[in-house]
């Protein structure tokens, strides 16, 4: 039954996963998402699920590959450097067509960087750090409710395409508290014996099947591999068309259009109000899917009206190539950026816009 509660972000993410059909969770402690494995360790077994604390992020992604191969619905979570360690596994799961829902509560900087919120995983999650031609849909919620709703839906998306799905939230979202409406729990399969009906491709033992199932990533023959890559490419192109999501705010008359996702989009929403009060027509496109990058709202912008687009990021312009492609370079793109774990204030973004307008005149 749906219920309205006040929850900490990380715990709301975990609760949404359980309600969305997660029966297995694998994790490894890393800031700022450790409340997810903590919550799962005591909550999931009570709801008939299994919690495993892995020895590393390599362990996490490979155990979850095993769970996925066996037909279990699995959720994992980590933070930026942990996601980097999992890239081998993401490439492998895509090539073997094994579904998974992964959450990245991202932090700032390269290497160890810092543990404060960041968005500098944009390239890591949208391009992927693994080998080969593969894609993973990435959804970036900006409120707790967005996060709960997309996590809840992601298990079905992952199963539909037999592909991992990633949710990108930053550390600010993981640590803040906000009221959310939790959806009704769903059951994707009844029990272990029901998996073979729900996922006929999964490894459940060959007994009673006409042909045994095998899950492979290796293809010894070039022609066979090329054919397989083409088959997957066709699937990725379908995903690219079907999974684009975005929201536009006041873009119709806007001379300035921000592009922002996640926590940055929350701040920009406030910025728009302040600018509009000051008589500056500003709008925002909020990509919800980062891959596939939503192109329609950018195609709808009119260069006669919109004079500049601002990519507002807690990273160094990583989203700009996607924006330029979506705009087909019809409108100039500027960067507003804070990094290192610093979350910008509404005032500094307003000041940035006012300076920029003077420069453009």
């Amino acid at each position: 039954m749906a219920e309205r509660v006040l929850m900490k972000g990380n715990e709301a993410f975990a609760e949404a996963a359980i309600r969305g059909g997660c029966r297995f969770y694998v994790g490894y402690p890393i800031t700022p998402q450790s409340e997810i494995p903590e919550f799962m360790s005591h909550e999931l077994p009570k709801r008939g699920g299994t919690f495993i604390q892995a020895e590393s992020e390599l362990g996490t992604i490979n155990m979850s590959y095993g769970i996925g191969c066996a037909g279990g619905n699995v959720f994992i979570s980590s933070a930026s450097p942990g996601i980097a360690l999992m890239q081998e596994g993401f490439s492998f799961l895509c090539s073997a067509e094994v579904p998974l829902v992964a959450m990245n509560v991202s932090r700032s900087g390269a290497g160890i960087g810092g543990i404060q919120p960041g968005q500098c995983d944009y390239n890591q999650v949208t391009r992927g750090g693994g080998n080969g031609d593969y894609h993973i849909p990435v959804f970036a919620p900006s409120t707790m409710q967005d996060a709960v709703d997309i996590i809840y839906e992601s298990f079905e998306i992952a199963d539909r395409y037999r592909n991992p799905v990633m949710i990108l939230a930053d550390g600010m979202m993981g640590q803040m508290m906000e009221p959310v409406v939790l959806p009704e729990p769903k059951t994707l399969y009844k029990d272990e014996a029901d998996i073979a009906n729900y996922k006929p491709w999964a490894l459940t033992g060959s007994k009673g099947k006409a042909n045994r199932n095998r899950i492979k990533s290796y293809h010894a023959h070039p022609a066979e591999l090329e054919q397989y890559i083409d088959y997957l490419y066709e699937k990725y192109m379908r995903m690219e068309k079907e999974l684009q999501r975005a929201e536009s705010y006041h873009t119709d008359d806007a001379e300035i259009v921000f592009v922002a996702y996640g926590s940055m989009a929350r701040i920009v929403r406030e910025v728009l109000e302040v600018l509009r009060k000051d008589g500056i027509k500003a709008g925002m496109i909020r990509p919800i899917s980062l891959w596939p990058f939503p192109t329609a709202p950018f195609e709808a912008l009119n260069p006669e009206v919109t004079k500049v687009v601002i990519s507002a990021e807690m990273s160094k312009g990583q989203m700009i190539p996607d924006i330029r492609l979506a705009l087909k370079d019809r409108i100039p793109v500027k960067l507003f950026s804070r990094t290192g774990g610093i979350i910008p204030s509404t005032e500094e973004i307003v000041a940035f816009v006012k300076t920029l307008r003077k420069e453009l005149k």
Partner: protein
């Protein structure tokens, strides 16, 4: 008339020619593992994991449901499978580069957690698929393409004894090292597999069988001399025997 031998080809093994070299131990070990599972009547309730290495294609020959794993990660993958299907027989099948080098973390932690699957570890003291490089199990003085004058202790340390290492871990309930170099040892190897599968079926903890095996191609020996080399060089350094078994069976 009583049958004295029943082939498992067409039952536990598929009717396929293997890609393994003449004299390679994989053929014998594949047969022993699959015969043992077939004799338990569990082929339809078994899930295996193949490694990176020559036996990545083990699923072509082993007639059970299987998946491939990334290099060294088979014990993590088998962990996931067993947690979904706790009543199935689950095994990982791994070589020494896969298990004792890149995958040492995964095997140690699977044993530590007492995961209730079985690992079949094929130790031929060399990297086979990549063309004969030194493995952690390569013997002192043994030549490989990355130790052309023979492995030296000063540079590469001493070869690692995996069975002895895993036997120190509480969660590892059955650990045995066998060899497939003589008919008598092959028969003993099958008994080890059956004991390990029995431990798994009784859900006592992690079970592990190490097979000393031959790689004539990368050792530069004939198949016959490779089997002799196992007996003369490998067994003295890697002693055969049971390192760990359930209390009541001692």
């Amino acid at each position: 008339m009583k049958a004295i031998y029943q082939s498992t080809v067409g039952e536990g093994l598929t009717l396929t020619d293997t890609s393994y070299c003449p004299g390679c131990g994989h053929g014998i070990i594949h047969k022993l593992v699959m015969e043992s599972i077939a004799e338990l009547g569990k082929l339809g309730e078994t899930i295996g994991v193949s490694p990176i290495g020559c036996s990545v294609v083990a699923h072509e020959y082993m007639n059970v449901e299987m998946c491939e794993a990334a290099h060294g990660r088979a014990p993590a993958v088998a962990t996931g499978i067993k947690r979904v299907h706790p009543n199935h027989i689950v095994f990982s099948y791994q070589g020494d580069g896969d298990l004792a080098s890149i995958g040492m973390t995964e095997i140690v932690h699977a044993a530590m957690r007492g995961e209730k699957f079985t690992t079949f570890f094929v130790n031929n003291a060399i990297y086979g698929m990549t063309g004969g490089q030194m493995a952690p199990t390569t013997l002192l003085g043994q030549k490989s393409t990355t130790s052309i004058d023979g492995r030296k202790k000063e540079i590469s340390g001493m070869p690692i004894r995996v069975s002895e290492l895993l036997a120190t871990i509480d969660g590892a309930v059955y650990v045995e090292r066998v060899a497939v170099n003589t008919p008598a040892n092959v028969r003993k190897a099958k008994q080890a597999i059956k004991r390990a599968l029995d431990v798994q079926q009784r859900k006592l903890g992690f079970s592990f069988v190490e097979f000393l095996s031959s790689c004539p191609t990368n050792w530069g020996l004939t198949p016959v001399n490779a089997l002799k080399w196992v007996g003369e060089h490998m067994i003295p350094y890697y002693p055969l025997g049971i390192f760990k078994q359930p209390e009541e069976e001692k």
